[in-house]
């Protein structure tokens, strides 16, 4: 039996989750929400996380009904993400790791999303579309690496949606993307916008005028191209933008045409959360990885394919 606690706070969500052999025992989370028209800045975000992190940690233990002695490993987000919030969270993880005498594990945030998606959906070996405010990548596993097949050449799709929401002053509660989706459901006019796919990659900075249809069509195209390249019959969507039902619907149409299966998780797990870091940490820990304190520095840049995936064949 292996119990891992995971700490996540690389953007505006702070979450701490506990996993025991594939079972999510607790996963509390808080979101830093800014007024309409404003994005979130690193120092303010770090201040938000700092104010609540110890409370959330207590909640995670209480909701799981566990004591620190029951934990086998402390996992935290090493990167990528915003520097100040990453440091705030890493400080607490390093401190409790030492107080409780448990090994530490620095986890790649993107891999946290992937491993959570695999756990919840039981997808076997899917082509992964990772879409969030900070990241847009099409990923396939091959020989101990999560290979990046395609990505945004400028901004993440979620960043594009968030910036659009800011321009038209949509509320950021619970998230700008969610509110765009609700409004888009009532739309009936399609406006043609720049559609920019370059081979495996996409570009979103030319489209800061919205429309899910165009953004999502681009993502479906590059996912399909990666699937064709890998001969894959499964798609897994992870990351906050993955909550979007229209994206899931459009991806589903493409999958049906190809006879492929579509996998996605709900908002508990596609939005940044602590349990996903715990899950990736569980996989890494069980395959023998550990992070020494001196090497536990956080990093704003951390590519998904930098990690050796020792837990898969």
């Amino acid at each position: 039996m292996t119990v891992v606690i995971g700490f996540e706070g690389s953007a505006n969500k702070i979450g701490i989750g506990i996993i025991r052999d594939g079972e999510v025992l607790s996963n509390p989370r808080r979101t830093y929400i800014t007024p309409p028209g404003q994005g979130f800045l690193p120092s303010d975000t770090a201040r938000h996380h700092r104010a609540v992190i110890l409370t959330v940690l207590k909640e995670a233990l209480e909701q799981a009904g566990l004591k620190p002695a029951d934990i086998d490993c402390v996992a935290y987000t090493k990167g990528p993400g915003m520097g100040a919030p990453l440091v705030t969270v890493a400080l607490v993880a390093r401190t409790v790791s030492q107080l409780w005498g448990k090994p530490l594990l620095g986890v790649n945030h993107c891999i946290g999303h992937i491993e959570m998606g695999r756990l919840i959906t039981k997808a076997n070996n899917p082509t992964v579309l990772y879409v969030s405010g900070g990241n847009t990548q099409v990923i396939a596993y091959s020989e101990r690496r999560y290979r990046i097949f395609g990505e945004t050449i400028d901004i993440a799709v979620g960043n594009c949606l968030d910036r659009f929401a800011r321009v038209i002053k949509i509320s950021n509660d619970p998230s700008p993307g969610y509110n765009i989706e609700q409004m888009a459901k009532k739309g009936s006019q399609y406006v043609e916008l720049p559609y920019t796919v370059k081979g495996m990659d996409v570009s979103f900075s030319g489209i800061l005028s919205y429309i899910e249809e165009t953004l999502f069509s681009m993502l479906v195209e590059i996912t399909e191209r990666a699937m064709a390249h890998c001969g894959s019959q499964e798609v897994l969507i992870v990351g906050g933008v993955g909550c979007n039902l229209r994206l899931q619907e459009m991806m589903g149409v493409m999958c049906k045409e190809r006879g492929a299966k579509l996998f996605a998780t709900d908002e508990r797990f596609c939005i940044d959360n602590g349990a996903m870091i715990a899950q990736a940490g569980w996989e890494m820990f069980r395959s023998g990885q550990v992070t020494e304190l001196e090497d536990s520095w956080i990093t704003q840049r951390y590519r998904t394919d930098e990690v050796e995936v020792t837990w898969r064949d």
Partner: protein, 99 residues
């Protein structure tokens, strides 16, 4: 007991602003825990600031030197925020388990 710190910032005799901070902890073990939590991350700013954190007995000591007072202030303020978070964590989830 709660650690208390003593800090000084001087710009008098040295050409570059410096600051020193000494924080007593209840034990050498706890001072070392704080050191190992606070030292891994690099300063966000590349250049213009240097910081050295050490432990002697049960005291955590930090020595800064910077090119400008402004740069020194940012680093010291940031460190104090981080130190207080580490101390609060130790207060709430300590004492350290027996080795």
């Amino acid at each position: 007991g709660t650690p208390r710190g003593q800090g000084r910032a001087t710009q008098l005799s040295s050409p570059f602003p410096v600051c020193s901070l000494d924080v007593p902890f209840p034990s050498s073990r706890e001072a070392t825990i704080a050191l190992r939590s606070l030292s891994p991350d690099k300063e966000p700013r590349k250049g213009g600031i240097s910081k050295l954190i050490t432990v002697s007995g049960s005291t955590l000591s930090v020595r800064w030197s910077a090119d400008e007072a402004r740069i020194l202030r940012v680093s010291v303020n940031s460190f104090l925020d981080h130190l207080s978070l580490v101390m609060e964590t130790m207060e709430m989830f300590g004492p350290p388990v027996a080795v």
